[in-house]
């Protein structure tokens, strides 16, 4: 009798347990727990103030949570508490195995250096010094995110919003990270530009087998990109499951309200 291959790895890429966050006396995030597996795209949805960006910042070690534990699986196969690492270790992770795509590209790009240097910076951080190779890789990545490589010496200030966002994605993906955090990556863009970016993201996550945690208030974005969904309300995860199951057969009252409030997610 043949057996099915085991469901991927035995350890998750990211293990999140009982993460909580306070701003002053106010508890803005509580009891967030889930596992993310290699190659999985997880959407975190909920309205403004539901705690989704707070969760993302806690996962990506951009803010230390008040409570709970976030562990990341290193290339050596060991899960490590990201908040127990030194700042130097966190920085190394942030520019190698992780990516972070901000809603506003200006927050993730260096606006006064060339597009090529923006893409090359993480590679240089990893020790690549050969100018020709850096430039060739940058040009290749510009093409991959559908930016004319002839613009390699222009600064992002001269780019449209959609081009800036694609450049930010190239800057993050050039080191082949294993986990990318995205905070509302499409919401600052026109609808027509959004579709192109979504389609690009969908292709890249599939080709590179990226694990992604994407925060979005847009259920259509979740539907197109994510395998799984987490629904947040007032700092708590109220529902989780396969994306289309949560959208087509929502169980929690808040999810039902969310789904029924939009046109055809």
């Amino acid at each position: 009798m043949t057996t099915l291959p085991p469901v991927a790895a035995t350890l998750p890429l990211l293990r999140v347990r009982q993460v909580a966050q306070r701003y002053g006396q106010r508890l803005v995030l509580q009891d967030a727990s889930f596992d993310l597996w290699p190659g999985e795209v997880l959407a975190v949805v909920g309205e403004s103030g539901s705690g989704k960006s707070t969760l993302l910042n806690a996962l990506a070690a951009r803010a230390r949570p008040a409570d709970g534990c976030v562990e990341f699986l290193g290339r050596d196969g060991v899960l490590r508490d990201v908040h127990g690492m030194s700042e130097a270790q966190q920085r190394l992770l942030a520019r190698t195995d992780w990516g972070f795509v901000h809603q506003n590209p200006a927050d993730g790009l260096r606006m006064d250096v060339s597009a090529g240097a923006n893409v090359g910076e993480r590679l240089m951080g990893l020790g690549e010094r050969h100018y020709g190779r850096l430039r060739a890789t940058a040009a290749e990545w510009l093409a991959r995110v559908e930016i004319d490589p002839a613009r390699i010496d222009d600064t992002p200030r001269t780019f449209s919003g959609g081009m800036r966002q694609r450049l930010q994605i190239a800057r993050n993906l050039v080191t082949h990270p294993r986990l990318v955090f995205m905070d509302e990556p499409t919401s600052g863009l026109d609808v027509s530009v959004q579709a192109r970016l979504l389609d690009l993201l969908r292709g890249l996550t599939q080709q590179m087998q990226l694990a992604v945690v994407i925060v979005t208030h847009d259920l259509a974005v979740a539907r197109l990109l994510a395998h799984r969904m987490v629904v947040m309300q007032r700092g708590r995860i109220v529902e989780t499951g396969l994306t289309d199951q949560v959208l087509d057969d929502p169980q929690h009252p808040y999810t039902q309200l969310l789904v029924s409030s939009v046109l055809q997610p």
């Binding site: 043949t2 099915l4 999985e40 396969l242 039902q256 309200l257």
Partner: protein, 238 residues
């Protein structure tokens, strides 16, 4: 070997489905009650009954698009381990859809900017086939379903309803999976294409697939069914 003697690919044990509408004063809609169904390799079960009997709901439960309210749904690919859909982790369900279950829904959910050829080739590429092989096979399916070749490089968003439905059939039948769920696959097709889809379903059954189908056209159901199930049996207590 008869189909009934073979272990089922899919088994539903006392499955029920009830929708609770929290914003309609907690109204409850009982759609299915006490569904027991086993479908073995090489069987084509056609679901009969007027609309509103929960036929599509049943397929959606098996595809894990809906969550059962009660009972168990067990999926066992030939030679593989049983998966209890109500207990399975999302990543196991993603893998199940990739490898085990094909689902032809009533409408194609289009992916912006992806060509019809790649929409159809994608399931094979996900399964590890080279792009070249996957596209060659996709071309064969599109040709067989009479999609004009000049449309292949275009995204299906602008296609007619019938063309989209044929792209949908090709996309979801191209990979020979052990279980195939068909929700009115011929609803918007002409006679020639309907005949082709009947052939494709028979070929799937002949290679050992288990098939569960809904067909608005009784003649199509008659042409493919090895067994018919009357859905009104699952509504008794509803």
């Amino acid at each position: 070997m008869t189909a009934a003697m073979t272990a089922p690919v899919i088994e539903l044990q006392a499955v029920s489905k009830r929708f609770t509408l929290h914003h309609q004063h907690g109204a409850q809609l009982q759609v299915l009650q006490d569904v027991n169904l086993r479908v073995a390799p090489g069987e084509c079960v056609v679901l009969d009954g007027p609309s509103g009997q929960g036929k599509s709901t049943l397929l959606k439960l098996i595809y894990a698009n809906y969550l059962a309210s009660g009972g168990r749904i067990l999926l066992t690919p030939p030679g593989g381990a049983a998966l209890d859909l109500g207990q399975a982790e999302p990543r196991a369900l993603v893998q199940m859809r990739r490898d085990t279950v094909g689902y032809v829904s009533q409408f194609l959910r289009v992916i912006p900017r992806v060509s019809a050829l790649d929409v159809v080739a994608e399931p094979l590429m996900d399964a590890g086939h080279s792009q070249e092989d996957a596209r060659a096979e996709a071309a064969r399916w599109l040709a067989r379903l009479r999609i004009p070749e000049h449309l292949w490089p275009l995204p299906p968003a602008t296609f007619s309803g019938g063309e989209q439905q044929r792209v949908n059939i090709a996309r979801n039948m191209i990979r020979p999976r052990p279980l195939l769920l068909l929700d009115e696959p011929t609803a918007s097709l002409d006679a020639a294409n309907t005949a082709t889809v009947i052939e494709l379903i028979r070929e799937a059954v002949a290679r050992g697939a288990a098939v569960i189908g809904i067909f608005h056209d009784r003649a199509v159901g008659d042409a493919v069914a090895t067994r018919r199930v009357d859905m009104s049996a699952f509504r008794r207590a509803a």
